[in-house]
């Protein structure tokens, strides 16, 4: 127990995207769930392999867009009808077709802000410190190397057996991640 607490997880390094995806699939099949894979570019098969498919960004964007639409139209309506009505030749105050451009722009604006801020928030960024950066080789994860992490909190995690399992995956290097 004490030996387990002192480590954040085990990290295996692979030299190709294919090896990483294959390893991720086998790790998931083995029953590990507190896992993560790191790659220098997006690999769709990699997040499918560990079962990551977060649909909340889409929801955030939808909510942002609806709020933007209401805010944009509400602003035009409130200003033109309630706060500052100008009677020009008896034309209707709520001239909604001329409010559409502003409504559209504010919809896109808030949806885009929701998209980016939501994505960063769900990813937990900005995060200046993370244990994975303690592995010296990990600086290659943003350049040309591929990593698989099994966290110590995973119920199946066992320092010896997990390391043996990782060796069987064809990892080029296995490192313990300091917490």
């Amino acid at each position: 127990m004490d030996a387990q607490r002192s480590v954040y997880g085990l990290m295996a390094e692979f030299d190709s995207a294919n090896a990483l995806v294959e390893a991720a699939r086998r790790t998931h099949a083995e029953g590990y769930r507190s896992t993560d894979v790191f790659s220098p570019f997006p690999i769709e098969a990699a997040w499918e392999a560990i079962g990551a498919n977060d649909k909340r960004p889409q929801l955030f964007i939808l909510i942002g867009g609806i709020m933007g639409m209401l805010a944009g139209f509400g602003l035009c309506y409130w200003v033109s009808v309630i706060a500052y009505p100008l009677n020009i030749g008896g034309r209707p105050l709520n001239s909604w077709p001329s409010f559409i451009p502003v409504t559209f722009e504010v919809t896109i604006l808030l949806a885009s802000l929701a998209a980016v801020i939501g994505m960063l928030a769900l990813n937990g960024l900005p995060m200046p410190y993370h244990p994975v950066f303690n592995v010296p080789r990990f600086s290659r994860a943003s350049q040309d190397s591929f990593f698989l992490l099994i966290e110590a909190v995973d119920p199946k995690f066992d320092r010896q057996r997990t390391r043996q399992f990782m060796q069987g995956l064809g990892a080029t290097e296995i490192n313990e991640v300091e917490p």
Binding site: S16, A24, D36, V37, F38, S39, P40, F41, P42, I43, E44, A45, A46, W47, I50, A52, N53, D54, P57, Q58, I61, G72, L75, C76, V79, S80, A83, Y84, L86, S98, F99, P101, V102, F104, E105, I108, L109, A111, S112, L113, A115, V116, G118, M119, L120, L122, N123, L125, P126, M127, P128, H130, V132, F133, S139, R140, A141, S142, Q143, D144
Partner: protein, 462 residues
């Protein structure tokens, strides 16, 4: 797969990335421009010119604020001149950046990858140059706050939401914000690469801070890719809406030559046309200066040339339809507008415009000229001039002779008009070349995905 068949006259298209590259060589080549390489003499020379012109801009704007907009040549009846010509010109140039980064992404055009980053930067800087004009043309930008923005002020005054000028404010600010978000989102993984490659403490801190702690986790990539694609999907109607709204500034007016339903599509096509020309203008020298021929290959230049040719045709169709509407309307003011445009005192600008936008791009039919970088660069400059003239023709020739001959007059720009315009070109060049110096001008992580070893076995075709 890419080897040409020897017995066929069909030539396989040039690859989007030259063979022989690896993850590491791509990373090294692009990040070295920012981190380690010495900068070519061309960088310093261009930067010096840009900086000189920026100083001219500072002087011109300073004198404008001191003296007022009387230092410009526009006066009734030509109440709008260089200020709005330059505004429309710059904002149009910005459109190609969004087109390349968003629309070509949705169409899965992989040749966009090596040009999207600096095209997006170009968008931001062009929109910044454009946005200056509505602000400074008020002469009192500090008052523009309540003219432009709806905020509760002690006078109880609100903007008129039925006016295209207010739509413009919302369209341009939204466009700038969304372009900036899109650009920064695309930069995050590359900033992490720079953080991990930087040798000096302060560059590590700088890029580390900007990278927000990005670590390339697949869970992050999944949300990132989802959001990036949806942002592209939202930017596409946005970019179309921006120039549409800009064209409404004119087409909702009743002036002959402005009051036309063709304006929105005609303006959007012109924007893409001008923008692609500007991307060529920037890509060709940068590619040579930094030896990026492996990443910005002939395929990219040729494709951009083809887009220029096609959108050039749409623009020419617009000119033809303007003339046809004027003739077919049987309206005396409309047909006078047409005659005045072609044969009036500013007739030479109209024919020069037809030459620049209608005739010169036709040389792109020839593969020999389309693949000649020197000619492409010159052609792109001519197109930029042509698009500037288009806005001059629309704005000045329509305004200077409207319905009543008693109110006709001529318009001549002053030296301050010209120095302000040149100043924004300098600002654009300066920002662009600073960007090339401090941030990766090609998306490193997206270039990696173009390599054959990035294709996953057993995953259906991506």
């Amino acid at each position: 797969m890419d080897t040409p068949a020897p017995h066929s006259s069909y030539q396989t298209p040039h690859p989007v990335i030259e063979p022989g590259h690896s993850y590491d060589s791509i990373t090294e080549k692009i990040s070295a421009i920012v981190l380690t390489r010495r900068h070519p003499i061309g960088w310093f020379a261009t930067m010096a010119i840009g900086f000189l012109l920026v100083n001219g801009l500072g002087l011109s704007v300073g004198y404008l604020l001191f003296k007022g907009i009387g230092i410009w040549g526009n006066n009734i009846p030509v109440g709008w001149a260089f200020d709005i010509i330059n505004f429309v010109w710059w904002i149009g140039i910005g459109h190609a950046g969004t087109l390349i980064s968003a629309i070509l992404l949705l169409f899965k055009q992989d040749w966009r990858t090596s040009i999207n980053r600096f095209a997006e930067a170009m968008t931001l800087f062009a929109v910044a140059c454009a946005a200056m004009f509505p602000l400074i043309h008020t002469g009192r930008p500090w008052l523009a706050a309540y003219w432009l923005l709806p905020y509760p002020n002690t006078m109880g005054i609100w903007p008129q939401f039925r006016s295209p000028l207010i739509w413009d404010v919302f369209a341009v600010t939204t466009y700038f914000t969304v372009s900036a978000l899109f650009w920064y989102t695309g930069l995050i993984p590359d900033l992490a690469t720079l953080r991990d490659r930087a040798k000096r403490r302060w560059t590590q801190m700088l890029f580390g801070g900007l990278a927000l702690g990005w670590r390339g986790s697949a869970r992050h990539w999944q949300r990132y890719e989802t959001v990036y694609l949806i942002l592209a999907g939202m930017s596409t109607p946005l970019v179309l809406s921006v120039h549409t709204v800009v064209s409404f500034d004119f087409s909702t007016g009743i002036l002959p030559g402005w009051h036309a339903t063709i304006f929105p599509p005609y303006f959007v096509a012109g924007a893409i046309y001008a923008g692609f020309a500007m991307v060529l203008c920037l890509a060709i020298p940068l590619r040579r200066m930094y030896g990026l021929e492996d990443f910005i290959t002939m395929r990219h230049l040729e494709n951009m040339a083809k887009v220029t040719l096609v959108t050039g045709f749409i623009v020419v169709y617009g000119y033809a339809m303007e003339a046809f509407f004027a003739f077919y309307s049987a309206n005396v003011y409309e047909s006078f507008m047409l005659k005045n445009r072609a044969f009036g005192p500013y007739g030479w600008t109209y024919w020069l415009l037809i030459f620049c936008n209608g005739i010169v791009p036709q040389t792109l039919w020839l593969k020999r000229l389309r693949t000649n970088t020197t000619w492409l660069f010159i052609m792109a400059l001519i197109v930029s001039v042509g698009m500037w003239l288009e806005r001059f023709v629309i704005i000045v020739t329509s305004l200077h002779r409207d319905f009543l001959p008693s109110s006709w007059d001529m318009y001549y720009p002053t030296r301050w008009d010209i120095s302000t315009f040149l100043g924004t070109i300098g600002l654009f060049i300066t920002l662009m070349f600073l960007f090339v110096r401090v941030l990766p001008m090609i998306s490193i992580f997206e270039m990696r995905t173009l390599l054959p070893e990035a294709k996953i076995k057993g995953a259906e075709g991506h």
